[in-house]
């Protein structure tokens, strides 16, 4: 395969060259345990102290408020179960949304099995939350609200600051899954009224296997991984030094480059959407267009199935995703698009293009040029598409 065009940055990002260089010493000479008081521990110890400070600067918090995790999923689980258990005596009700990542939905479902009550708020056809609905879901038993910052499938950004204000007004702890916003739009916990916020290294050009959870001073969480005194007793286990250093470098690069890069990527994304809409009939954009992270376009190619599209694109070296990468192994249609009321046969034809640092205008133009014939070929095989009339067919079958 000659061309390799990557439009799947929400699934994972390339490891930044600077990040790898920063990690390398800690996978070679500087392999010591940072808890060791002898020479082997000192370099790694200093390195993770500095790395923590860097990550805190990125988030806008102080270093006692940081818990290093192994992934976005772990951070979400630690936040949600951690707060639910810590506040069990105060109440047993949690509010979240139907469009969260499985790393939020599934801990919530687990807690339901353990006797907690969970409200899953719906979204409108643009994927947006209704704050009045949120307000009326609150009960005296509510101890935690967890809503994502930016949606991984559609890119839709929730009004975190406003949700946080509502939570604070009712003295409810507020967690947000910021895995998809970190590095794409500014996140500063001090401005956001959030109590907990999770990020993941590999979504912002850092390594896989590391993430971070901000836990506001005074917010108590029950650990997920009980063990040694690491992370101020909030997560046991020898620190993943190289991973932490890599995450810190990724945060540093993001802070340095984000403003310009986000504007550049937003322009490419808009060009991509415009080009596809102009070149292909029966096509829609999923998600509220004026409240999205800058890199994500969720495009509904009506009357075709997404995997067929992805396979055909892959043959040209174009990488994208249908639904979220995590669930692409499954056959369920997207719970996010379902919650937005997208018809089942159309959710399957929705493709997520998520752009990033490596992408160029040429790549976008190549996509715009190639997509129409790919879609035409697949639609041509579909019993749901009338090629002559260029529209859908209502089908009758058992």
């Amino acid at each position: 395969m000659s061309k390799q065009i990557y439009f799947d940055h929400n699934a994972t990002t390339p490891v930044d060259g600077e990040v790898f260089q920063a990690m390398k010493p800690f996978l070679t000479e500087q392999w010591g345990n940072p808890s060791s008081i002898h020479w082997a521990g000192r370099g790694p110890h200093k390195a993770i102290d500095e790395a923590r400070d860097q990550i805190c600067e990125f988030l806008g918090c102080s270093s006692v408020e940081l818990v290093i995790t192994s992934s976005g999923s772990e951070g979400d689980n630690l936040a949600i179960k951690g707060v639910a258990y810590a506040k069990k005596k105060k109440g047993n009700h949690i509010i979240t949304t139907k469009v969260e990542h499985p790393a939020v939905l599934n801990p919530c479902k687990f807690l339901e099995r353990e006797g907690f009550k969970v409200t899953y708020l719906g979204v409108d056809k643009d994927g947006m939350l209704d704050l009045d609905e949120l307000r009326s879901a609150i009960t005296p038993e509510t101890t935690l609200i967890t809503t994502m910052f930016a949606n991984n499938e559609t890119g839709v950004v929730f009004p975190i600051k406003e949700i946080g204000a509502i939570a604070r007004e009712h003295k409810i702890t507020f967690h947000t899954d910021a895995v998809q916003s970190a590095g794409k739009i500014p996140i500063n916990v001090a401005d956001l009224n959030v109590d907990l916020l999770s990020i993941s290294g590999h979504k912002l050009y850092g390594p896989k296997g590391v993430g971070a959870l901000f836990v506001k001073r005074g917010v108590r969480i029950v650990p997920l991984i009980h063990g040694g005194h690491h992370e101020r007793n909030r997560r046991g286990g020898t620190e993943n030094v190289a991973g932490i250093v890599g995450l810190a470098k990724a945060c540093e690069v993001a802070m340095r480059d984000m403003a310009g890069e986000s504007a550049r990527v937003a322009k490419l994304r808009d060009r991509l959407e415009k080009g596809l809409l102009e070149g292909i009939p029966a096509l829609r954009i999923n998600g509220k267009r004026d409240s999205r992270i800058p890199n994500t376009a969720n495009v509904a190619f009506d009357f075709v199935e997404g995997e067929s599209l992805l396979l055909s694109m892959d043959m040209l070296g174009i990488a994208a995703a249908s639904g979220s990468a995590c669930t692409s192994g499954s056959l369920e249609s997207s719970h996010v698009l379902n919650a937005m009321g997208v018809k089942a046969e159309l959710t399957h034809g929705s493709v997520r293009f998520s752009l990033g640092r490596s992408n160029t205008e040429e790549e976008v133009d190549y996509l715009i040029k190639e997509m129409p014939s790919i879609v035409e070929r697949i639609r041509g095989m579909s019993p749901l598409w009338d090629t002559k009339a260029q529209k859908g067919i209502e089908l009758d079958f058992d």
Binding site: F303, V304, E305, G306, E307, S308, L311, M315, G329, S330, L331, S333, K343, A344, E345, H348, G380, M381, S382, P383, L384, W385, L395, D396, F397, D398
Partner: protein, 125 residues
Amino acid sequence: MYSEKVMDHFTNPRNVGEMDDANGVGTVGNPACGDIMKLSIKVDDNDVIKEVKFKTFGCGAAIATSSMVTELVKGKKLSEAGDISNNTVSDALDGLPAVKMHCSNLAADALQAAIDDYKKKKEAK
């Protein structure tokens, strides 16, 4: 993920289309699952499947199994064609990924539905 044979049938699907003069049509699947197959057959007076066409809305596996079943069935007697199962199809494709075995492997079902349709129509005559 997919075998070379699957990719071949996905890339160059055999017998795509519909027939104006089909005498048996079967449509199976479920839009919520993301797989719908429509199989059309033309059976001659000797109960031989002379022609077969498919249209499929579905993933790579769905398209490849559809294409494969048309190859397997063409020129076969109805009685032989009726023996073709979903396993026959996936075996002919050198296997399918585990997650695809149940949902996207409906081609033999579509064939069965088309044969049933043909028989029903014939009886009705």
